[in-house]
């Protein structure tokens, strides 16, 4: 059964003609790990913000379509209810900090404290989030003095402390160096199993490590939705991400021997190359 549903969602930014999202309908189940792939400017951030209900209420009400959780559209949720249901982590690590906390522990406690939860509950959530994101050693540090990778882990910890049902990650690794990116991707594997995670990405690596299901968003439409190998070998996906991305994905899989979740992968470098050539022919290049 779907936990959150996007129904016939269309959206254009005020003062512009082009639809960023065009009649999108998709549903996510509880505990599902989904990657939303798109090229730069492909609508990932807009989709992620819609999914998290973070656009201004006027926009959330005025536009065509809905995002519903448990049958209720986002504008019908109070701010506290919504914050406890869905969390969003964006691209730039330092911009994910609240600016109201002097330590890492306080940053994590900021959200639960805003919900006016009892003190033992806040403490328990902070301890749990610190442990999940491996931040115990940094608990007393000033969040702004952490590295980008540490700040991004802190953003995840702060989001987890809200005990959301859905976590929306918007290009969480785009501002990280390769070592921090790898450490962050490993961290994602430790997320609670019941949590629905939607990662909107342009890079394949975090998607491959996290998701069982890929969506491919292009020019406002979802043009592929399914198993990672099927979506990656879709001609449009290959054409847009290019051979490099597909080859890297295939190399990743070869290195690991299997998908992160133990699924067999029918995608090889050769298959990727074939798909790319097909796409080139289709595009008349």
């Amino acid at each position: 059964m779907a936990l959150i549903e996007v129904e016939d969602l269309s959206f254009r930014y005020p003062g512009t003609e082009q639809l960023v999202l065009d009649r999108i309908s998709v549903a996510f189940a509880e505990g599902e790990r989904v990657a939303v792939l798109a090229a730069n400017g492909g609508g990932k951030t807009t989709f992620a913000r819609w999914l998290a209900g973070l656009l201004p209420e006027g926009i959330l009400r005025a536009e065509r379509g809905h995002v519903r959780m448990h049958g209720r559209s986002w504008p019908d949720w109070t701010a506290a209810e919504r914050a406890a249901a869905v969390q969003y982590v964006g691209q730039v690590p330092s911009q994910q900090l609240s600016g109201a906390a002097f330590t890492v522990a306080e940053e994590i406690a900021f959200g639960p404290s805003n919900l006016a939860l009892p003190i033992p509950e806040v403490r328990a959530r902070v301890a749990e989030s610190l442990a999940i994101c491996n931040l115990e050693q940094l608990a007393k540090r000033d969040p702004f003095t952490l590295s980008g990778g540490e700040q991004q882990r802190l953003s995840i910890a702060a989001a987890l402390a809200m005990r959301p049902r859905i976590l929306v990650l918007d290009e969480p690794t785009s501002n990280l160096d390769p070592a921090s990116r790898d450490a962050f991707i490993e961290q994602l594997a430790a997320l609670p199993a019941a949590l629905t995670v939607v990662v909107c990405e342009v890079a394949l690596r975090p998607c491959l490590a996290l998701a069982q299901r890929f969506l491919f968003l292009h020019e406002g439409h979802i043009i592929a939705d399914g198993a990672p190998a099927d979506v990656l070998s879709h001609p449009a996906c290959v054409a847009i991400f290019g051979m490099t991305g597909v080859a890297r994905a295939a190399a990743d899989v070869r290195e690991r021997g299997c998908w992160p979740l133990g699924l067999e992968l029918p995608l090889t470098l050769e298959a990727g190359l074939r798909s790319f050539r097909t796409a080139e022919r289709a595009l008349g290049r």
């Binding site: 973070l54 506290a80 330092s94 609240s98 600016g99 306080e106 939860l117």
Partner: protein, 262 residues
């Protein structure tokens, strides 16, 4: 404050950790006493204000924050003192002047300058005593514990917290503009001409940050409830509460009495 929330003193904070009775006092009590000192500095004559400063500095040394307090006082007051003495003692035309070689100085102007400087020094001493013995996190917790709106607490905290990242960003912009050929080492005129190239990107980026920060605050249920949970608020007592009320009453009364007197 428990182990996991006890913050380290940051490079942008004047807070000096310590275990004195002033450090242990509730931040709101310290704030009330600071306000009393400010109001006293406004009404006292120069000699009285000087006693207030000396008392403040002596207290600072007795509780282990003397050095940072005196250093900041000297750094702030030295240029101010020079400017005040030049303007009041030499530039403002007054009838009685005393000649020191080729320089004519007004004793009355010097006295006025000393009076203004003493008042500023007293206010600064009281403020420095407050900030060197109070971690901003404790101040915020005290406000939260007293039921002050989370929005007001955020207004107080965020400038302190965002100062370091903003400074770092300003340095990045300066380096980037230098790499593109912006001359920041030439004449004053060249430097002033270069200012827009530094400030415009800084302001633009700060505004972008605001948008993201607003998303984070919404996402973390900021102001979703009227009151927040306060973990480990600074100790408070009925005695301190009455002291605060008494000190604020005196501060208001002494200002009012002076107005009536005049």
């Amino acid at each position: 404050m428990s182990a996991w929330t006890k913050p380290e003193a940051g490079p942008t904070l004047l807070f000096t950790p310590g275990s004195s009775w002033v450090h242990a006092a509730n931040p709101l009590t310290k704030l009330a006493v600071m306000l009393w000192a400010v109001s006293a500095a406004v009404i006292l004559p120069t000699a009285g204000t000087a006693f207030l400063i000396l008392g403040g500095v002596a207290l600072a040394f007795s509780i282990g924050v003397g050095r940072p307090v005196v250093e900041r006082l000297a750094l702030t007051l030295t240029p101010l003192a020079i400017a005040l003495f030049v303007v009041h003692g030499m530039l403002i035309g007054r009838p009685e002047l005393v000649l020191f070689g080729h320089i004519a100085v007004s004793p009355r102007g010097l006295a006025d300058a000393a009076g203004i400087l003493a008042r500023i020094a007293a206010v600064l001493t009281a403020s420095l005593l407050f900030v060197t013995t109070t971690h901003p996190a404790d101040m915020l917790k005290s406000l939260d514990a007293r039921g002050v709106s989370p929005g007001l607490s955020y207004l107080i905290a965020s400038p302190l917290l965002l100062l370091a990242p903003l400074t770092s960003r300003a340095k990045d912009i300066r380096d980037a503009q230098r790499a593109r050929g912006l001359d920041l080492t030439g004449s004053w005129k060249a430097r002033i001409t270069a200012l827009p190239a530094l400030f415009i990107p800084l302001i633009t980026l700060a505004l972008t940050d605001l948008d993201h920060r607003a998303l984070v605050l919404t996402s973390r249920a900021f102001r979703a409830r009227k009151q927040r949970t306060v973990i480990d608020p600074p100790l408070d007592s009925r005695r301190q509460m009455w002291l605060r009320r008494g000190v604020i009453t005196i501060a208001v009364l002494q200002l009012g009495l002076v107005r009536l007197w005049h």
